[in-house]
């Protein structure tokens, strides 16, 4: 009886980690775009959905096999991100933050509409690069896809770390984000660095989309619910910290499942399904009030 309860508990933890992995991937894209351009991109989820649809249409409608389609989607997404920056963001970059936010909202609405318009609203299925195998460990089932997702997320964190710490490009991106004027003086092509940031974030978003779709199902609304949790994860972990995004995402996934699991006990009986999302956000608010820059974030220094 106790053993059964424990394995049920662990199953919820595992499934929380699985959901958390998905939040982490999109959170990574949000973190990168903020870190390299200072912008919160509300359209990040929709861009990820669009990338997933591109991968889907290549494999299903045009008969490509998976890995070439995967690579092509990454490339197209990168190009798309750069393109969006040059065409849509650059004209409003110098203005107020709010203006850029509105533009990304416009992108969100337009891209979501485009996906529905082009491919219709019914759900589709995108295959997982990790297959559908599952492993059973002591009564707890773990899916290869979920392990793969978390490994990919951590791998991305590592690659980003290398990029930002050890490469000239990474340094240039950071410089362009923190102080564009001075960066220009030192010869950094700021505009291209910002475009690169958008391209990078779009590529990460593509990965997020292609790994989310196999679990959650591919449909135009796929990322909308995830986006909110991803924001929460990114803020929780520290809006400029990739490792924070991953830790934040996993933590969030597990915490929410824990609340859900505990709701069978009367002390937590008030926690019903409607409160899952508000609970996630409440956690974030609490963390923000206590540690405003998130778990791994560094406090902002305001200049007078």
């Amino acid at each position: 009886m106790v053993v059964a309860a424990f394995s049920d508990f662990m199953q919820q933890v595992v499934s929380g980690l699985a959901s958390g992995g998905i939040y982490a991937l999109l959170a990574l894209a949000l973190v990168i775009i903020h870190r390299s351009t200072g912008v919160i991109n509300f359209a990040q989820g929709e861009m990820a959905t669009l990338s997933a649809y591109i991968a889907w249409t290549l494999t299903v409608n045009h008969g490509w096999s998976y890995w070439p389609a995967f690579a092509a989607t990454l490339a197209i997404s990168f190009g798309g991100g750069v393109g969006i920056h040059r065409v849509v963001i650059r004209p409003v970059e110098r203005g107020s933050v709010l203006r850029i936010v509105i533009v990304t909202i416009g992108l969100l609405v337009a891209i979501n509409g485009f996906v529905i318009w082009e491919w219709g609203g019914e759900p589709q299925q995108l295959q997982s690069p990790f297959g559908t195998d599952t492993y059973s460990v002591g009564g707890v089932v773990v899916a290869a896809h979920d392990i793969g997702t978390i490994v990919v997320a951590l791998g991305i964190v590592l690659l980003l770390w290398i990029l930002f710490q050890f490469t000239k490009v990474g340094l240039a991106i950071r410089a362009a984000a923190v102080n564009p004027e001075e960066a220009r003086l030192v010869g950094v092509r700021v505009t291209w660095m910002l475009a690169l940031g958008w391209g990078l974030a779009a590529t990460l978003g593509a990965v997020a989309g292609m790994l989310t779709a196999p679990t959650v199902g591919l449909d135009p609304q796929m990322m909308q619910a995830v986006l909110i949790y991803a924001f929460a994860a990114a803020v929780l972990g520290g809006i400029d910290s990739p490792i924070g995004a991953v830790v934040g995402g996993l933590l969030l996934g597990v915490l929410l499942n824990m609340l859900s699991y505990l709701s069978q006990y009367s002390a937590f009986g008030w926690f019903t399904e409607e409160l899952r999302l508000p609970a996630a956000l409440l956690i974030i608010l609490v963390v923000l009030v206590v540690k405003p820059s998130g778990l791994f974030g560094r406090p902002e220094v305001k200049r007078v």
Partner: protein, 357 residues
Amino acid sequence: MTPRLTRTIGFVTFATFVVVIAVLPSFISDFKARDYSYVGIYLIALLGLNILTGYTGQISLGHGAFMAIGGYTTAILMAGNEEFGGPLSGGMKDVWTLPIAGLVAGLFGLAFGLPALRLSGLYLALATFAIAVAMPSTAKRLEEFTGGGSGIQLFGTPELTGSIANVRIFGWSLTPNDWMYYLAWSIALVAFAVAWLILRGRTGRAFRAVRDSETAAVSSGVSLARYKTLAFGISAAYAGVAGGLFVIASAFINPDAFPVALSIYLLVGIVVGGLGGLSGLVFGAIFIAFLPLWAQGQDLGSLLPDRIIEETQKPGGPAIVYGVVLILLMFVIPNGVSGLFRRIGQLISSRRYSRSK
């Protein structure tokens, strides 16, 4: 331009606007009056949000939630509920619920403003976004009061003035649509005047000081805590009244009536209208109220060529139009309509100066 001349121009403009509003129903169809009352309702919400974001510099992505609080207050008071007991078990007339809706929402705004002091910029935006997202689910959870997912239906109830029959007021007989129009717009115009008074006074100067530089404001003796919280409270109260009116206009409320999209569109409205200016907000309200319709090729949208209209009526089409128009507007009028007016004013006054040489 002297300050006195500016103020006189402002008054005359406002007076003209009031006259236009007052006589408009005689020139338009009965139904359009109800449509336009939504413009008035959004204007009230935008006035509030503008005080917070345009004048005090605090971004809120959650004002739809304050509208929801006001809306539910109105709906619950109108429907009556045994849980309350006593005189509140029965329903309350719709008009009297509005000040209460504003008050309740305002209190929530104050309550949120306090912890929000620790947050700014991005984090504040996300925190307010969190409220907007959490609101529908919370409303659903509090089923005994809010009617859960099915919501509360108010149509045809005696508490709703002018459900079907004409409304008699001050000796006139108004159709229900005209009644809604005048109710919404009289409150909107009053709200406008109140906002103007607040903003031109000491409070308004304090708000602007907070927006322009918090450090400078503090060193000038402006209490950040007091004014930031106050801004939240006032703007939430405005949103609450707007929400109550919204429910009266729709005669129905449920958690989906105030979705996250609404909070986002309110922000869109003040940016399109022009932050930190009042004159453009009417256009922001028109934008929010009508663009979704125009995007489907109706009304103004019927000016578009037929092929485009056909495409926009496919699923997803209206959204593409909406998003593209929004982006283009940010290119063309970066400071919103108020900003456009300011530029026109600049051009005119600079020409006057050069002519008077």
